[in-house]
């Protein structure tokens, strides 16, 4: 792969991710509005928010670590995009595999955790301790799902997984061949988004939006950008593992939006779980389905 092609990919993939992410955030807010019988924000609202936050005149930072953490968090998220193969652009998918991807997803949360810690606000610290606990909750089922997929396809490199799923059209999709594993994966993806029932670490009423308590201006802008990337990443990862990845954009986009739409549709009707309930619920249901799926895969 020559360098110009690679350079185009390195620039293009995060950009696409950002744009698709923006649309997803818009979808999130529109769905919430429609459920609350409201009209909902204008089409460019997510963009307006981000530009407004970046164009704040005065910015407050709590020390160098707070600033560097933001760069690392955003950098981690952008780096993750490059390893997510999308139709036509494989990026660096051969250089790292599924496990690398899952670990690259942890860098933004750790970077954010360090930045919030530097803000020296206990609301933030409580939020981060809950976020890491929630990470334990959804990461175990996610890893079981990853193990299942890797075992089923006999490989952990994403292009090969996609190729294996696209070999026989719809019938060889992950969701068709390992439905239980796909269900467990979906619940784990749901929790990864950190939306309503699992939103304990951004609980506005209790800990004043947790980690975001001291984020203002460009710091909060970075968090909004990261939210876009995160929605996109969850959608694409799930599609890559279970919905046969992307052959063409016109079939790829609906799949990602469908994957992201399901959790977002359900999230607005739920109250918020306590931390230990998140753990128990995720380990019981997501873990249960994932283990069942894994057992099926091993049996085959």
């Amino acid at each position: 792969m020559d360098f110009t092609h690679l350079f185009v990919e390195l620039v293009l993939m995060p950009l696409i991710a950002f744009l698709v992410g923006l649309v997803m955030v818009l979808m999130l807010r529109k769905v919430r509005a429609k459920i609350e019988r409201r009209i909902g924000p204008p089409l460019l609202q997510p963009l307006y928010d981000i530009v407004k936050l970046y164009s704040k005149k005065t910015q407050v930072s709590h020390g160098p670590m707070h600033e560097i953490a933001m760069m690392v968090a955003l950098g981690g998220v952008i780096a993750m995009e490059v390893f997510l193969p999308v139709p036509g652009l494989n990026g660096l998918a051969e250089k790292g595999d599924l496990i690398v991807l899952i670990y690259l997803m942890m860098i933004p949360s750790l970077g954010l955790a360090l930045g919030v810690g530097a803000c020296a606000n206990p609301n933030g610290s409580i939020g981060i301790s809950r976020a890491l606990t929630a990470m334990v909750a959804y990461d175990i089922p996610l890893m079981i799902v990853v193990a299942g997929v890797a075992l089923f396809h006999g490989t952990t490199s994403l292009p090969e997984i996609i190729a294996a799923q696209q070999a026989g059209g719809m019938s060889t999709w992950g969701i068709v061949q390992t439905p239980v594993l796909a269900l467990g994966g979906l619940i784990a993806a749901y929790a990864m988004l950190g939306k309503e029932p699992f939103e304990i670490y951004v609980a506005p009423a209790e800990i004043a939006t947790g980690p975001m308590v001291e984020m203002s201006g460009k710091f909060m802008g970075t968090l909004f950008v990261m939210q876009c990337f995160q929605l996109y990443a969850v959608g694409v990862l799930y599609t890559t593992l279970f919905l046969g990845g992307g052959e063409y954009w016109i079939s790829f986009l609906p799949k990602i939006f469908a994957v992201v739409f399901i959790p977002l549709a359900m999230t607005n009707v739920f109250p918020r779980y306590k931390t230990e309930d998140v753990l128990k619920w995720m380990w019981k249901w997501a873990g249960g389905f994932a283990l069942a799926g894994l057992a099926l895969v091993v049996m085959k």
Binding site: G75, I78, I99, Y103, L132, T133
Partner: protein, 615 residues
């Protein structure tokens, strides 16, 4: 007089010199130079491995000889390197404050010598002699601070002695049946031995060597012992001392019994084989300590508990018996040595300045001790096993090997261990460096260069070898070949297997580039103003210095409420039961001697003997 004899001689010389000049101001510097010399000797020795040493003598018909194989050489490199960094740290200002460092410097040198003797052993008896010397040397290293340190060291010694005797029984069992005790003939004997004898010998040796490595049921002594020893010594012990147990286990499991034989050694009335049995024990050793580390309130105890957990990773890696798994496990040994030593040094630096390592009474030291913060940051990312650092590479290799070897549940167990590590390392760095600065730490300033330079160097090694893992993988190849496993094809960036490889050059490169982009996006916004810690949202409350506005006690309260019931300390209860049993029996026996008149015993005994023999 080949290089190995020279090395042993130099290290014995170092011990003698450092014991003699221990209290001299420049003892630490002298020690560092001598360790550097030993390291140079090791490096020179590399091409001619396995190197047989001239020393050797015969006692009671058994030939004792020493020769350094690739595996021994690999561990020797780590031992001498960690000793070098510890001595360098102790030579700095940390040492000037302490009055008598003879025992510290001498103890460290003695430890290195004992370990070299163990690593170079070529037959079971010299292995056992080396093993005992190492146990006693580390006892000497742990016992320096007196008081609670002595209790912890005493507890360690009883464990180590019992373990050593178990190994002695195993050696005696082999000696009873096999003609000679050097590794070659023992390997032959094992090949022909029946499953029963192999199981007993394996259980005894694993119990003995498992004590030092902290395998699960025998790990209770390690946290207290390592956290009570003085700073640099704790770094040395944490980094390499418990890996001697792993070395001995590799010698027994891999070199003597052979990993494939292990594979088809059935466990009684279950479908497991020995390999899986030990792998699951390693997995347990990996999970339980990391979640116990979560609940610790002392920084050093937290790190010591991690020492046990990471040992589980190494053993798990090796037991997978594929080139990827074994080199992953061995690379984890050297990775772990780097960041664990640096973490212990960083915690010692914090203790040196603030006087305490209690995580509930620290906080906000980031703007007072930035360099120590950077060291701890690099090393906790390494310990947690996240991408830019070397910890990730070895963990990735272990995960990939587990997946390729069709062991998904072990893979999940390893991941649970990693998650536990991520949580507890964040608690460590958050409670120490982040959050609100306390009034009493307002005037604390950074440790001098003599202390932060070794730490920063170790942190840099952690990062650089994370970026270019090939550097460590070359060292690991020596050991992998010595174990008899085919060498893993690797390049500077990492490993590229058929089904999904790892190229850290690209991953870390992209990560740094992306962080660059993040920086650019960050600087789109206007210039920011740095505000103090009291300019914070507190729901309208005006913050003052006397009311600590910090969340660090019970850091993961939610998680603990879920896993607290599972952690009732079953093993600790088991240990107490054993001790009270011994007390009870002791009471009974001494009562026997004290109470009854001697004559009555004799009559009773004779009557009993007559009854038995005549009837």
């Amino acid at each position: 007089m080949n290089d190995l004899d020279l090395l042993l001689l130099v290290s014995i010389g170092t011990t003698a010199v450092l014991f003699a000049f221990g209290t001299w101001r420049w003892a630490g510097a002298l020690g560092t130079l001598l360790y550097a010399l030993q390291l140079a000797l090791l490096a020179v020795m590399r091409p001619e491995l396995p190197l047989a040493s001239g020393i050797g003598f015969e006692v009671l018909g058994y030939r004792l000889q020493w020769s350094l194989s690739g595996l021994g050489w690999f561990f020797a490199i780590i031992t001498v390197a960690s000793a070098l960094f510890s001595a360098w740290f102790a030579a700095g200002e940390w040492g000037q404050h302490r009055r008598n460092l003879r025992l510290l410097h001498g103890g460290l040198a003695l430890n290195v010598t004992a370990m070299l003797i163990l690593l170079a052993s070529d037959d079971l008896i010299s292995l056992f002699i080396g093993w005992e010397l190492v146990s006693w040397a580390s006892y000497l290293a742990m016992v320096q601070r007196g008081g609670p340190a002595m209790d912890a060291a005493y507890r360690y010694l009883v464990y180590a002695l019992a373990g050593a005797l178990a190994v002695l029984v195993a050696i005696a069992m082999i000696a009873a049946q096999s003609p000679a005790l050097d590794f070659g003939s023992v390997r032959v004997w094992f090949a022909s031995a029946g499953n029963g004898t192999i199981w007993t010998v394996m259980l005894l040796t694993m119990a003995g060597f498992g004590v030092k490595m902290g395998l699960l049921p025998l790990h209770l002594w390690q946290p207290a012992a390592y956290s009570e020893s003085p700073g640099p010594i704790a770094a040395f012990l944490g980094a390499i001392s418990s890996r001697m147990g792993l070395f001995a286990i590799i010698v027994v499991l891999a070199q003597l019994i052979g990993l494939e034989r292990l594979g088809n050694l059935p466990v009684a009335f279950s479908f497991w084989n020995a390999n899986e049995f030990w792998a699951w024990l390693a997995a347990l050793t990996l999970i339980v300590p990391t979640f116990i580390a979560l609940t610790q309130n002392d920084a050093r105890m937290l790190l010591a508990w991690h020492g046990i957990g990471q040992g589980g990773y190494m053993l798990l890696g090796i037991l997978i018996a594929t080139p990827l798994g074994v080199s992953g496990g061995l690379m984890h040994v050297i990775n772990y040595a780097c960041y664990q030593a640096a973490l212990f040094l960083a915690v010692t630096a914090v203790a040196h300045r603030t006087g305490t390592t209690d995580l509930d009474h620290l906080g906000g030291l980031i703007n007072r001790m930035p360099l120590t913060y950077v060291t701890m940051l690099f090393c906790i990312i390494g310990l947690a096993g996240l991408p830019p650092m070397n910890g990730f590479v070895s963990k990735w290799m272990i995960y990939k090997a587990l997946l390729d070897a069709q062991m998904p549940l072990l893979f999940v167990a390893a991941v649970i261990g990693t998650l536990g590590t991520i949580l507890s390392v964040y608690k460590l760095i958050h409670n120490t460096f982040l959050g609100q600065l306390r009034l009493e730490h307002a005037q604390v300033n950074e440790v001098p260069i003599s202390m932060w330079l070794p730490m920063i160097l170790l942190a840099l090694i952690v990062f650089i070898t994370g970026w270019m893992p090939g550097l460590f993988l070359d060292l690991v190849d020596e050991a992998v070949v010595a174990i008899g496993i085919t060498q893993l094809p690797h390049h500077l960036g990492g490993v590229d297997l058929g089904n999904g490889g790892l190229d850290m050059l690209w991953i870390v490169g992209v990560l740094l580039a992306a962080i660059g982009i993040g920086a650019i996006v960050y600087f789109l916004g206007n210039r920011s103003v740095r505000v103090g810690q009291f300019d914070n949202y507190a729901g309208g409350q005006i913050l003052t210095a006397d009311v600590p506005y910090q969340y660090s006690h019970q850091f993961y309260a939610g998680l603990l409420r879920v896993i607290q019931p599972w952690m009732r300390g079953g093993m600790a209860w088991g240990e107490r039961a054993l001790v009270s049993g011994a007390d009870f029996l002791g009471g009974a026996m001494s009562g026997l001697y004290r109470a009854a008149p001697a004559g009555a015993y004799l009559l009773l005994a004779v009557l009993a003997a007559l009854a038995v023999t005549l009837l």
